[in-house]
Symmetry: C2
Subunit: 473 residues, 2 copies
Amino acid sequence: MRSLVLIGHGSHLNPESAAAVYAYADLLRSHGLFDEVVEGYWKEEPSLRQVLRTVRYTDVTVIPMFISEGYFTETVIPRELGLGHQGPVPPSGVARVIGGRTVRYTLPYGVHPRMSEVIVARAHEAYPDLNAEDTALIVLGHGTTRNENSNKIVYQNAERMRQSGKFAEVHAFFLDEEPKITGWQQHVKAKNIVLVPFFASEGWHTLETIPEDIGLTGEVTVFERLGTEGQTQTMYYSKPVGTHPAIAEVIVQLAEEAHGASDRGGDLERGHQDAWNAVWQRLSAGPLRIGEVLLRSMSGMVEIRHALDEGKANEGLKTVVTPEGVRDQVRLDEGGEYRPVHTLRNLARGWRAVLSEQDFPRALHFLYPAVVEESYAQHHHALRCTPWAATARRQTGIYAKVQKATPQQVETVASEICGGCLKTRLWADEPLHQTFFDGVPGGIPCAEACTLLVAEVREEVSGKRGQKSGPSH
Amino acid sequence: MRSLVLIGHGSHLNPESAAAVYAYADLLRSHGLFDEVVEGYWKEEPSLRQVLRTVRYTDVTVIPMFISEGYFTETVIPRELGLGHQGPVPPSGVARVIGGRTVRYTLPYGVHPRMSEVIVARAHEAYPDLNAEDTALIVLGHGTTRNENSNKIVYQNAERMRQSGKFAEVHAFFLDEEPKITGWQQHVKAKNIVLVPFFASEGWHTLETIPEDIGLTGEVTVFERLGTEGQTQTMYYSKPVGTHPAIAEVIVQLAEEAHGASDRGGDLERGHQDAWNAVWQRLSAGPLRIGEVLLRSMSGMVEIRHALDEGKANEGLKTVVTPEGVRDQVRLDEGGEYRPVHTLRNLARGWRAVLSEQDFPRALHFLYPAVVEESYAQHHHALRCTPWAATARRQTGIYAKVQKATPQQVETVASEICGGCLKTRLWADEPLHQTFFDGVPGGIPCAEACTLLVAEVREEVSGKRGQKSGPSH
Ligand code: SF4
Ligand code: SF4
């Protein structure tokens, strides 16, 4: 049996940012290649520190849903997963045994050779009449000084495009590094140019910075050719590669190749199995309360509803029947605000989920990620905690600043952010002798400061907290 | 049987502002003159629109805990209570029958003749050697153009002090109106002057504006006498009259006089009795869930705890045994933030209350003011609601501005503020077919927009929302 974990960036502010990862996870579930597909996020839940604990089988493939290698795929993700690897990942990936599981970590989908098919597809979409005589292709990358590896992919794909012979010329340009896109007219001679952004999604860059930097007026822009009177070059601007439907095939193929790497697969991971058996056992004995929800098993199905809606007639509630349906109900609070942490005490009411026993664990996982596994470990005094100092020491990049936070600053921010959360902060020596397994619905452990708290402490240290009413992104 | 209602201003921002009213209510309860003492607030709960419904008996005396007559005692309180009276209140008070109850509304405590004893007490405190030869008394009032009646009390008390013969001179001055305190040296000849602020409590005026306006350097300030070289006048600055312990006796006497006015007293108010009998009935049948708490009756006592703490060992919880103990537990949320509305979904955990059956109703009243009475009325389709337009039309003073709010503005603010509240907004046509009497813990009606929402809509209309992170005061 094999588990697949897709890793996304996610966001504390924008509820939509994980949508693409959701979609690919749903696709790969229906594809049936892996026996389980789980998502993990840098800025959402389950966090990269929790996700492996929520995986059912002992054979785990981890694919970073990033378009290019770089800071996240080489520094942040391996560190947070506990891979004990830092720096470039070889083509065959990195394999480690972690907590009784064999974990294989692959390269991001952007390096896959089939990406060039996606580039060509985007080019044709923008300029259907493209031809090898008068059309040049520009593959545009972000380019960042922090990790030169992330530009490699743009050059590799540009090189593949040259060999394909489909274009008169092929160039690689970058937003933030030489050769910069702003100087394209000094290099590109062709009459027609198709500009394809090698970006994961539409966003601030593709919609704002790129058009502004080169003076695009729309999908088609006519420029005066440098040093001439009245001669022109026409540029066709395509959508980013990352959102093209063909990406899904690239990811499926990446998963198949990774799947092949695990010869005999794995079996049920003991700790995970025990935790969920304990949940089933309590559910068979009667209603089970976890956090703000009430769970009841009824004739082979399991119903989840908000405890405040106990006893409410079903007509008065919106019924959902899939784990994804539950995921959508718990994303926003009743005021329509995004809930970056699922155990905040602002779960919306007004819905009920009726799920097959097969779907129920994944639904509860979307509702309260990693809560079953971590509470069970705590129930058996086996939950390892990470004190704030260790979490802070591990931070790099824009989050390194939290290392300067005084204990008082951390406590002030924590009392506000964690004050609205169900969890008990074991990492700050708050006692938790009874979990929901002991019948205490609010008994849920927090083993380590979450990324929302880390982000808020960073704002506090840089004196920017409180200017905005919501949490920082 | 007689009920006493004390009306205070309260605050959306400052948890301490109602402390004085709490203290006087506790005092009068222990005094035993009235069979029930209930508090109602302009800016806290129970609101002035709810408080009469929470009163047990049909004979009700209402005392405004204000030092002077004016805008609140003559316009806001009578209007919100539904007294059908506006403007000055005669010495004998105003009597009306409202919802089956005889309600007598008295003058504020500041007009009571015994207030002059408190002035003298404060004067002696500030200047023990005061004497009729060389000491002048200044009674300092706030003074507001909005209602000339509120200055009358200051002149009355000054006049009584003159007749007492205790001072060489007696003057009345005001902060915001002629004769202004800043010009005191043109009128006061005596060598020593005792300045007594006729204010309800220490605050911004007594600590900041007054000392600044007249140049006080502390409790004792020596001034140069106008038009002289080297002759001086010494001013002794006392604490405000409102916080002097003797005020309690004034209030007790005011209550006794009001008590006398109700010849034969009243009996249990039917609707109120039915609602609480229904609660007792359910409690005797087993645990009862209301909002975020779990109620259980055990051997003649009733236990209240947060539903998230169900099953938690008592050692892990702080135990309180009085209604006031419950009041203190529910004032702040787990992040230490003040909860201006009690049905916000941020009730702190970590406590349990064990109460006698006699104390239980008052404790539940402090926890969820008016929820039992209003839910029972809704349970019987008898809860009258007040749509937003009617609430807005009723507003005067700084709140009149809410009449300019567009439906969209009201809805935007309401979705944010009410999104975190247990209540269902009947006044905005949100359906509520089942209350906690039907076994739905979250089934709690909101019959009318609360003063917190009105205050937030006002901020929205004046474009000041979102600058501050917390709700406006
Ligand atoms: S750090 Fe605080 S807010 Fe984050 S999960 Fe833990 S308790 Fe909740
Ligand atoms: S107006 Fe909104 S916040 Fe105020 S009590 Fe009603 S539902 Fe709650």
